[in-house]
């Protein structure tokens, strides 16, 4: 019994840990977007700020990438939804013997690495272009065209799976009845099958758009000289990280969550509609709710209002009092630097005195020897135990002089020792 309890506790801890692993990184990343520190981090927390979001709006390349991503996403939806639909409709009609092969081929793009898909698309259309003698400006070498085609290759397989699962619940008798009653094939398709598939089309479209929007592996090869949001993001992350990427991440996470919620709503509606029609078929009384109940739902309105109020609060909290807070943080940093410098000065003076008493070193005896005392600023520069820290001190001192002299606040803290290590850390991580 006791071991049972232990096991249960352990399981729950494991599951909690799993969810922490799942959400922890995303939450931390989102938090760093609101810290005024120039390096994305949560500790030490400096000031609550939304300035990193303001950077985003000014980035022309980002806006361009975003527009391209949306354009490509729409193109992929237009291409992948009909392709997936026809693939799913075809599946039930191909011969029994061919079906496993058909299924394998159509589903294979999901399993093929995205990199491979991108390369093969790029190469294929390049060769086709050469065959037709098309110029380099023609559609075969166009990044948008190639990306849409390349992404649609595997996204069509996603949409096909959506349609297959919907079609499994389709009753072919309905179609036959319509045909018997004199409807043409096109009419049957439009009036019977399409309405039945409508929710699946909606969810397939959302799925296709999101999959296209966040694709990187295929896009990076097919995009050629253009850029999308993901390739822009990848370039930015590789060239050095700063919190404006976190801010972008927060925006994208919020948008994708919105998209996912939309997807969920479509799915729910599909299920609800199905239940309703099942009940109608049973002859039960069904009270029809208004079609727009999603928009008029009080809960939805409430969530909407709370979101707006929350965003407003965050914005004001992030802009008001930011300057004072930053000034305070700066002052604190400076104080720490000064303290360190003072300590070091005292320490080195003490050591100098001690050493002088013990072993008088001749002037300029070697690299390790200490220059004559009295060269104020560089006291103890060559003493071995100072070696590791000396660079930081020196620069900190210089920085202090600079501030004293010019009063320029711009460079304050740039050379502070804590910043140095983070800069070197950042540059290492960039590689």
């Amino acid at each position: 019994m006791i071991s049972d309890h232990i096991r249960k506790t352990f399981t729950i801890l494991f599951v909690l840990g799993f969810f922490a692993y799942l959400f922890g990184p995303l939450i931390i990343m989102s938090l760093t977007a609101f810290n005024s520190s120039a390096f994305p981090r949560v500790t030490p927390w400096e000031c609550f700020s939304v300035e990193w979001f303001q950077f985003l709006g000014k980035d022309a390349k980002l806006i361009e990438g975003l527009q391209n991503s949306i354009f490509i996403g729409i193109g992929v939806v237009v291409l992948a939804v009909p392709l997936g639909l026809s693939g799913a409709l075809m599946l039930t009609q191909v011969k029994e013997r061919v079906r496993p092969w058909y299924y394998t081929v159509t589903i294979s793009p999901i399993l093929v690495p995205g990199v491979v898909l991108g390369i093969s698309t790029l190469l294929f259309w390049d060769r086709v272009g050469t065959m037709f003698g098309a110029s380099r400006e023609s559609v075969f070498y166009n990044g948008f065209f190639l990306t849409i085609i390349g992404q649609a290759t595997f996204i069509s397989a996603y949409t096909m799976l959506v349609f297959i699962s919907r079609l499994q619940r389709f009753d072919r008798v309905q179609e036959e009845a319509a045909l018997d009653l004199g409807a043409t094939h096109v009419q049957t398709f439009r009036k019977i099958l399409l309405p039945f598939l409508k929710p699946a089309i909606a969810s397939a479209a959302v799925l296709a758009f999101l999959a296209s929007f966040e694709n990187y592996n295929t896009t990076v090869f097919t995009i050629v000289s253009e850029s999308t949001l993901t390739t822009f993001l990848a370039a930015k992350v590789r060239h050095g990280i700063n919190p404006s990427i976190s801010a972008l991440a927060v925006v994208i996470v919020a948008l994708t969550l919105f998209g996912a919620a939309l997807h969920e709503v479509f799915k729910r509606r599909e299920l609800a509609a199905e239940k309703e029609s099942a009940r109608i078929a049973k002859g039960e009384q069904v009270t029809r709710r208004s079609k727009n109940r999603f928009i008029t739902d009080p809960a939805v309105i409430l969530i909407f209002l709370v979101t707006i109020a929350g965003l407003g609060t965050i914005y004001f909290a992030g802009t008001m009092g930011l300057d004072e807070c930053k000034a305070a943080v700066k002052a604190e940093k400076q104080r720490v630097v000064q303290e360190r410098v003072k300590k070091r000065e005292q320490k080195s003076m003490f050591q100098d005195a001690g050493r002088q008493a013990l072993t008088p070193v001749p002037k300029g005896a070697g690299a390790k020897s200490r220059p004559a005392p009295g060269t104020s600023n560089f006291q103890g520069l060559f003493s071995p135990d100072n070696l590791e820290e000396q660079a930081g001190t020196k620069e900190a001192e210089q920085e202090q002089e600079k501030t004293r002299a010019a009063g320029t606040e711009q460079f304050q803290g740039i050379f502070a020792p804590q910043n140095l290590e983070e800069q070197s850390g950042a540059s290492e991580e960039q590689q």
Partner: protein
Amino acid sequence: MGRYWQEFFLRNGTALALYLLISVACWMLLMIILPQIFMLDFSFRTNVPPPLWGTEAHGYTMEHYQYMVYGSAQSTDSYNFVDLSVFGRTILTAIFVTLIDVALCYPVAYYLAHVASGGWARLMVMALIVPFWVNELLRAFAFKIMFGSTGIINNFLVAIGILDQPFDFIRNGVALYSGLSYAYILLMIFPIYNAVESLDKNQIEAARDLGCPWWRIHWRVVIPHAKPGITSGCTMVFMLTAGALAAPQILGGPSSLWFTQIIYQAFNQAGNWARGSAYAIILLSTSIIFVLCMMKIFKVKLGEIAR
């Protein structure tokens, strides 16, 4: 054959039949099959500048595959140790990551399917989907922030005194492994969850009533039932991890290369498309062999995998 098509047109009507045929043919030929064949063809051709493609100079050769194994003719090494070791490391890491994911996901999937009750379970399953919707690059970026030398993990470990100075997680590959395990974990948990969920609870209870210890229930009842799910999860995670580009680019330390990065370099930096496609073919065939092995070992069909 003729009768089949007649029936096909009759059943669908001309317009719909044409739409089905044309779009499926376009998708399968122009987008799936022909590009792969062209890539295979291209990988066997010499590397000449684009204007010469299709001319005499653009003949067939094995040089790119040989390069993968033996390296360039000028090098003194008898084998191409750089590329081969990167390839080996990529495959081994992908297998390792897959195993980690199975170990992490199986207990959680079992918990969600059979232990957790009602509303909580539904909420948790919903919550699982959320990180999946977040961009792959951003997930890698999140790990970079966490594992940085002044990241929260280092700060925490230093603060509680386990480390006296920050540990370089990125250079040591810890960040890469956790980021990769994280990236495709949801493709592992959902197949396992679906498979475990379809298991009749009575079977577990029967085993328990007959005195089976808990680990034996898993070994003899739950895992055999979840096998297709586990296989499908393993296949997906392995293929996506081996073919990942974003996470290694962002989380890889200065010295660690991923096989896809070599392909990327061949295309975008060296401008050697032929070698890039040869390497892509190597990656693709390794992935296919892996899938076939998994299908053989665990006796599942492809239809069960891609679900």
